[in-house]
């Protein structure tokens, strides 16, 4: 637990006139797990999308593993290759089989040989327990299976950091567990994770730190134990009373 792997300093972002992120400061150490929660429209998704530059921030600095995210496209691609992301809507590539979804980036971005990439993909697909679906297309899989495939696809790039943007919000209740199980396993293996989620059970089990965001600001940041036992701000208390 030495240097922070993600350093976010005084980040501001506007969509037109509307300020979505206000003076965000955040440090994440290697192997730390952070859960971000808050009402919708509070900027939590935007924050993690800024970390791999799917959104641009206008002020402040974001440094990932020693690389500052800036206009420079080379930096961005380098950072993205190190930061995996899982989306609410899975966003698997529907024209490719699950296996090809997983091997595409390793082959063409990391220049891996096809054989190595397939071995790697097989390994990760086994980890998320959908190796038997490898030859199918995303459209033939259930939501939970698709999301696990998406996690495997991100892992195939062997990222140092994983971002989860509400990974279970688009799933049927009975499929949420299979995805959360995969994420818990991943956490136990020591991945650095930032998770935007409303699954408080998962947060209690896995998170080192909790962040509560509202109206573009970090309202409360505390260790998981403190966050649930004695939240400081009233806004957090209200939110927790509604969600728990």
């Amino acid at each position: 637990m030495s240097d922070p792997i993600i350093q976010i300093q005084k980040v501001n972002k506007w969509f037109g006139d509307f300020q979505v992120l206000k003076e965000i400061d955040l440090e994440v150490k290697s192997k730390e797990k952070i859960v971000v929660c808050g009402p919708s429209g509070s900027g939590k998704s935007t924050l993690i999308r800024c970390i791999n530059r799917l959104e641009e921030h206008q002020k402040g600095s974001i440094i990932i593993d020693g690389t500052e995210i800036s206009e420079d496209t080379k930096n961005i691609e380098q950072v993205r290759a190190e930061v995996g992301m899982v989306f609410q809507q899975f966003n698997l590539f529907p024209h490719l089989s699950i296996l090809d979804n997983c091997t595409l980036a390793p082959i063409w971005v990391k220049k891996m040989s096809k054989k190595d990439a397939e071995a790697l993909a097989t390994e990760h697909l086994e980890k998320v327990q959908i190796i038997d679906q490898a030859q199918k297309f995303p459209g033939q899989l259930s939501g939970g299976q698709q999301q696990r495939a998406a996690i495997a696809r991100a892992l195939c790039m062997e990222p140092k950091i994983m971002l989860f943007d509400e990974p279970t919000s688009a799933l049927d209740p009975e499929m949420i567990k299979e995805v959360l199980d995969v994420m818990v396993n991943l956490a136990k293996q020591g991945m650095t994770m930032i998770v935007v989620t409303h699954e408080m059970g998962f947060a209690k089990e896995v998170a080192d730190q909790m962040i509560f965001m509202d109206e573009g600001m970090i309202v409360e940041k505390a260790t998981t134990k403190d966050f649930f036992a004695n939240p400081k701000s009233d806004r957090t208390k209200l939110f927790l009373s509604q969600i728990l």
């Binding site: 791999n52 530059r53 799917l54 496209t73 691609e77 380098q78 993205r80 290759a81 930061v83 995996g84 992301m85 989306f87 809507q89 966003n91 698997l92 590539f93 529907p94 024209h95 595409l104 980036a105 063409w108 971005v109 990391k110 297309f137 459209g139 033939q140 998406a150 696809r153 991100a154 790039m157």
Partner: protein, 426 residues
């Protein structure tokens, strides 16, 4: 549940069913018979009725007949099928009857014109004695319609070249899967070059002991194929680039693509062709000469590329943003993202639109007559003004129509096959 319903709607008395069935069939046949007699024998069996009613009796008889025949689950397979397809309601029955009567009305004269009264033997105008089509005309001019003014003795060169190009096109089906990735490169770059060389040395000639034949003498269907072939091959990648360019973030790329597309979409093809032939040479330095045919192919390519671009852009815009996000989050840059993730999906979506544009392109090729190139329709126009063969434009246009229909229909079928092949969602 289903089985109960089935039993309920079944007629209770088998006897009744048969009687209504017989009445229905009789009435329907009576209607048809009345119509046929009216049309072909000039006899009106309902002459005793007032004019308007008498005119509609075939329709009334046939529709009433169909009404009687409309028995649900009659147990007769053919009847059930007919009822389900052309006889679901009174309205449907009326429409079906109208269509049947129309076919009876139109088919015999058409067949007479096409086959029974037509002439095909002989090789002069005088051989056409029947009242139908004079296929002799097509037969005599067939070579011209296929090869234009290309010298008869040299026409084997066109055949050889076409067979060779077809063979090179067919190579794609036999390559080992290892080389599959290079296929698009082969089809968009190598194949046109190979074809161009073949056409240049064999059809155009001038070396290897082959007589030189100027492009002005080329024509007929073979010219249609040549122009369409090159235009199709080139307009697709160009259109793709323009579509990407129009969505680019770089202002220079964006606005040059935009103005290119809007320019070419805004002018009629016929003016473009005319300018390519008449105005373009004026801008060339003295002494340089670009062949008319090449200029025309370039003009059509640019013109159709603008349309293709807009079709492809439609596909690009139909993709959800998440696909871009996912590709970016995996570290793919602009080109890798588009080549592996965006374009394969977008192009799949726009296969119907692309097929549409391509068909339009093929059917636009006759316009090259404005620069003096006579493909199949151009040759027809020329032939019909021949003093020895005046008065056969109908046969000519029907012939051209059939040829274009065959080409376009097979392309359309092929595009449907492609759609099915790339369908991955279920």
């Amino acid at each position: 549940m289903n089985i109960n319903n089935f039993n309920l709607s079944k007629p209770k008395h088998q006897k009744n069913r048969n009687i209504t069935l017989i009445i229905g069939v009789l009435l329907f046949s009576l209607g048809i018979l009345d119509f046929c007699l009216n049309n072909f024998q000039n006899k009106n069996i309902t002459f005793f009725l007032p004019g308007l009613i008498s005119f509609f009796t075939p329709l009334i008889f046939a529709v009433t007949g169909l009404y009687f025949v409309r028995i649900e689950f009659s147990g007769i397979k053919i009847l059930d099928k007919l009822n389900k397809n052309i006889n679901t309601s009174n309205f449907n029955a009326t429409l079906s009857t109208c269509i049947i009567l129309l076919i009876i009305f139109a088919l015999p004269p058409l067949l007479n014109w096409f086959i029974f009264d037509a002439n095909i033997s002989g090789d002069t105008k005088e051989a056409c004695t029947g009242g139908g089509a004079c296929w002799v005309y097509i037969k005599v001019w067939f070579n011209r319609f296929m090869y234009g003014m290309y010298p008869n003795a040299e026409q084997w060169r066109i055949n050889v070249t076409f067979i060779a190009v077809l063979a090179f096109m067919g190579v794609g089906f036999f390559v080992p899967s290892k080389l599959r990735n290079y296929l698009s490169f082969y089809y968009t770059i190598l194949l046109p070059i190979i074809s161009f060389i073949l056409i240049y040395y064999i059809i155009s000639g001038g070396s290897f002991g082959l007589v030189w034949v100027e492009t002005g003498a080329w024509g007929g269907l073979s010219l249609t194929f040549m122009v369409s072939f090159f235009s199709l091959i080139f307009c697709f990648p160009l259109g793709m680039m323009l579509a990407l360019g129009r969505r680019s973030n770089l202002p220079v790329v964006k606005y040059s693509s935009l103005s290119f597309i809007e320019f070419w979409r805004g002018v009629p093809l016929i003016t473009v062709l005319f300018m390519s032939a008449v105005m373009f040479p004026m801008f060339l330095p003295e002494g340089t000469y670009i062949d008319k045919l090449i200029r025309v192919v370039v003009a059509i390519t640019l013109f159709e590329a603008a349309y293709t671009a807009e079709v492809i852009r439609g596909g690009l815009q139909a993709l959800p943003r998440g696909q871009y996000d996912a590709a970016k989050s995996l570290g793919m840059g602009y080109w890798r993202m588009h080549i592996f993730v965006i374009l394969p999906q977008a192009l799949k979506l726009v296969i119907p639109g692309i097929a549409n544009t391509f068909l339009a392109l093929i059917k636009d090729t006759p316009l090259i007559f404005v620069v003096g190139l006579l493909e199949v329709v151009g040759m027809l126009n020329l032939a019909k003004t021949n003093p020895k063969w005046l008065g056969f434009s109908m046969e000519g246009y029907v012939f051209a129509g059939i040829i274009f229909w065959i080409i376009c229909f097979s392309m359309s079928k092929y595009s449907q096959k492609l759609e099915l092949k790339y369908k991955t969602d279920r």
